[in-house]
Symmetry: C2
Subunit: 230 residues, 2 copies
């Protein structure tokens, strides 16, 4: 029997209309849909794709958001086991991932493993959240000779990116979001910064003055810092 | 009469299937399609969207790719004039732009002007070419705590970005593409770099050894440099 194919499908930032025609086609055609078992992102990915999943089987891969490398590796191995078992049965599997699968996706760790085992797995690009955030703010991410830096801002990691010349997207701040705000304030960059919460989702909110930021969870928050402040 | 609305529609990197459902809806519903008058990108944008344009009127805005600031400004002003005249007639206009409209788009300069004149103009996000390039290379752009730097590489501008820690996307190199290759070589970064030409378009080509690069035009070329070389 021919092996199945695994697709890592970027479902875009939140609005189901921001899925690509290709993502829709693959979701309609696949045999099984896969998502990580827990977390806000996964519930959101399911909600985005709901209109195309119908009554297909959905498998939930246990991929906890933890920092222990050995436990993480083990969970990604188990997820790869689950998916490869389906591929061995000849099933086509669509693994849902928010935004684009090449940008900080949990799926990537599973994708690598499935490819290394000799199976066919493909990335299906999606609209990254930061492009939708720029649209919501009605601004450009980069123009002319400006650089754009995508900076993961969790656990103090923003520090390295904040002083770079050019524009910055601060992502994945999560519970560090108020710290990140304070770091921007310390650099005098608050007036050049804007935040979008739950971009293109229900409850989207734009915060143009980060001094007013009151949600410390940082869920689905993207900060854009523009060099020229425009 | 109500004014029309201008949409800056990202049509994605090249494959018509990588258009979003929203882009397709707006193209089908709009009264007029607008594109810049000349250049490879524009022909490509028209080709991507062709299936949805039908026999709608298409206007061509004269927006030459020149470096003279005064002439550029004048051409963007004239394009804004053309579009605003249509909006005054109550027309809905979809301006096509390759990839995502917030990432180095020529459209942005017109969008700013139309908004400043008090009209409604909206950005419709699309899949940026670099996300499709990552999918073509079957690799991640960024994972974990890695930064990703989007670096415009035309006219020697890559220089500032090449030494940054993290992964890099070098875009817009155009006729500087062989210089950029030489800059990477001088830094010992060639083995960590890969190039995608005409990503997701007809004639897509992946160059994993940039020493073999022979097309000096740099048309639709994206270079990904990964810190860990993976």
């Amino acid at each position: 029997m021919n092996k199945g194919i695994l697709y890592g499908v970027g479902v875009g930032p939140g609005d189901p209309e921001l899925m690509t025609v290709k993502a829709v086609r693959i979701l309609k055609a696949c045999d099984v849909v896969a998502v990580p078992a827990a977390g806000e992102s996964e519930k959101t990915a399911m909600k985005i794709a709901a209109g195309y999943i119908g009554d297909k089987p959905v498998i939930h891969c246990d991929m906890p958001m933890i920092r222990d490398k050995a436990k993480l590796d083990a969970s990604h191995d188990r997820a790869a086991d689950q998916l490869c078992a389906l591929l061995d049965e000849g099933k086509t599997v669509a693994f849902l991932t928010l935004g684009d699968p090449s940008v900080y996706s949990t799926y990537w760790y599973v994708h690598k493993r499935v490819c290394a085992r000799g199976y066919t797995a493909q990335l299906v690009p999606g609209v990254p959240s930061f492009c939708a955030a720029a649209a919501a703010l009605n601004t450009a991410l980069c123009a002319g000779s400006e650089m754009l830096h995508i900076v993961p801002a969790s656990h103090g990691a923003a520090e390295n990116g904040l002083d770079l010349p050019g524009n910055k997207i601060l992502m994945k701040a999560g519970k560090s979001i108020l710290d990140v705000r304070d770091q921007l304030a310390a650099r005098g960059q608050l007036d050049n910064a804007a935040l979008v919460e739950r971009c293109s989702m229900e409850g989207e909110r734009i915060v143009t003055d980060l001094r007013e930021l009151d949600d410390p969870t940082g869920y689905f928050s993207i900060i854009l810092v523009k060099e020229d402040g425009e």
